[in-house]
Symmetry: C2
Subunit: 327 residues, 2 copies
């Protein structure tokens, strides 16, 4: 398989370019007319580390690579624009396999209005992907960083957490599935294999005045810590308020882990955690609900302290280092 030939076949399958793209894939560089500000992020995924070809289809692997990159744009409140994809192709992946991988990327690009505007294909010892995504906003101050949360701000979370962690447990230990319904188990596995970047919710939160935002890739505990540090503030999370996905409690119990611990330390939920002034909370709830992608839950607040503490249902708090005490 020649590189040029494969690239030509891939280009044939590209969805039509978005309105910002003047020259797409195939020249020395893509040419775009950006918004007043751009948000750019890059994510790498390597077989055996970020995914395993034994438990995910090639289409799912491609789709997830784009999804995790787009999740960073969601966390900025940016409108998705272009993606640039580098694939390292191992000896055991043939041209049809490359096309299947690519179809997964292209499908999510189509669904999210993202233009695949360029890329590079190289041989490599294992399957690897590096995805660069560019999002747009009218002006830089419309984009929401991790810094900017202020004491007294409400802390909100999109969707449900714990699902991706439970899904990973199910992929690694299929026997755990017996404790949940087949539908629930499948939904949890898909949250791990096929995460949804919260692009609409992220833009709605930015428009509603979110002062700081981050997507949950490492897990709520770790990512809340990133947000707290960047904002030079503290974060208090109410364990009782956390929206756990259905089935998480059952899978956690079957795996002999605490359900809260799994939800707080399990990564890859790709939900958004945001801080906003309490007076904007109602409007934010309303606009995220109106976007129809997921619900928004108030899960805590920003404090004048430092670091992250989690208030337990029975009273008392634990620091992230004490997650294993969570029930």
């Amino acid at each position: 398989m020649g590189e040029f030939q494969l690239l030509a076949r891939l280009r044939e399958r590209l969805p039509p370019p978005g309105h910002r793209v003047r020259v797409g894939s195939g020249d020395d560089a893509a040419v775009t007319v950006p918004g007043g500000a751009t948000a750019t992020s890059v994510d790498a995924l390597v077989d055996g580390i970020h995914f395993r070809r034994e438990t995910a289809t090639l289409s799912q692997i491609g789709r997830k690579a784009l999804a995790t990159a787009l999740s960073d744009l969601a966390a900025m409140g940016a409108e998705p624009g272009e993606a640039y994809v580098v694939v390292g192709v191992p000896p055991d992946l043939d041209e049809d396999g490359c096309l299947e991988l690519f179809d997964g990327i292209a499908a999510l690009a189509r669904e999210t209005g993202t233009t695949l505007a360029g890329g590079d294909v190289s041989r490599g010892p294992v399957l690897s992907l590096a995805v660069t995504v560019v999002g747009h906003a009218d002006a830089p101050e419309r984009l929401v960083t991790r810094a900017g949360a202020e004491p007294g701000d409400a802390l909100v979370l999109t969707g449900e957490i714990g699902a991706a962690g439970a899904g990973l447990l199910l992929l690694e230990r299929p026997e755990l599935a017996a404790t949940a319904s087949p539908e629930t188990a499948e939904r949890l596995r898909l949250r791990q294999l096929d995460p949804t970047p919260r692009l609409t919710a992220g833009q709605a939160l930015a428009a509603a005045g979110a002062r700081a935002m981050i997507d949950l890739s490492d897990g709520l505990g770790g990512d809340a810590k990133h947000l707290a540090r960047a904002s030079a503030a503290g974060i208090r999370i109410e364990a009782e308020a956390l929206p756990l996905a259905p089935g998480v409690a059952e899978i956690a119990a079957a795996a002999d882990r605490g359900r809260l611990e799994l939800a707080v330390s399990g990564g890859e939920d790709y939900e958004l955690l945001a801080a906003l002034a309490p007076e904007h909370l109602e409007a934010a709830m309303h606009s995220v609900a109106a976007a129809g992608e997921c619900k928004l839950t108030r899960v805590g607040e920003v404090t004048g302290g430092a670091g992250v503490e989690i208030r337990l249902p029975g009273g008392g708090t634990v620091a992230p280092a004490g997650f294993d005490q969570l029930g």
Copy 2:
């Protein structure tokens, strides 16, 4: 070595961000205020395919990864802006090795005015890099694609060719060096290991009215073909006019290869090939010379035909398929 800790150490070494960058490395995404148009390109390099750790220092590998990506921006006539770097770190590369690699990237970033605005580090089986670069222009029509060359246009080439191919021969077969002076041999090796993206010349050519442009990564023959195809035109190259780098003839002879064949089919010179209307030729020569980076040579013309032909010194022409007939 923790990923976060390495990233923190890398961030400490970053040159200060350029004026377009509002939020640099460390948040979910970098935030920039782009020009009226952007050119974006991505390049992948994998150990054993695009470089070999036996013949290049880590600093050279990093530097070349950024250089080859920036070369695509040069070929658009774009002003370099931001770079985003993904590194796959193999088990035998320690934290100091990563920093050396990174220092090579950072040094070229500083020299070219490029901001390292983000990236990702992952474990991997072999050293690999994926570099995304974003360049800027006032408007999309100021950027020069591969399409647009017209019959009668002058074909011009920056700098000298054959050097990177000869340098690769010297790295692979050190005994060939005996046929050139040590200084010449070292210069040829460095053209392979440490190419210079022709950023200033590219912008000068764009400003002088270049209608089509490409950088020589695959070799003059192959890249001229890309330009001809994209422009739906033919290209005639005068072999006698080609600016061969000093030492190329000697190394080619020692390796029992034709000097023209090595110059035309050897890749990675990263010179620019451009087409412009004859009435703009003098101004282009002047402005590239004034930029002081390299000279500009007229090497042929755009024709109404198709494909690429090379006119030999003794008369007659060969197609790229006939490169082995070149002297």
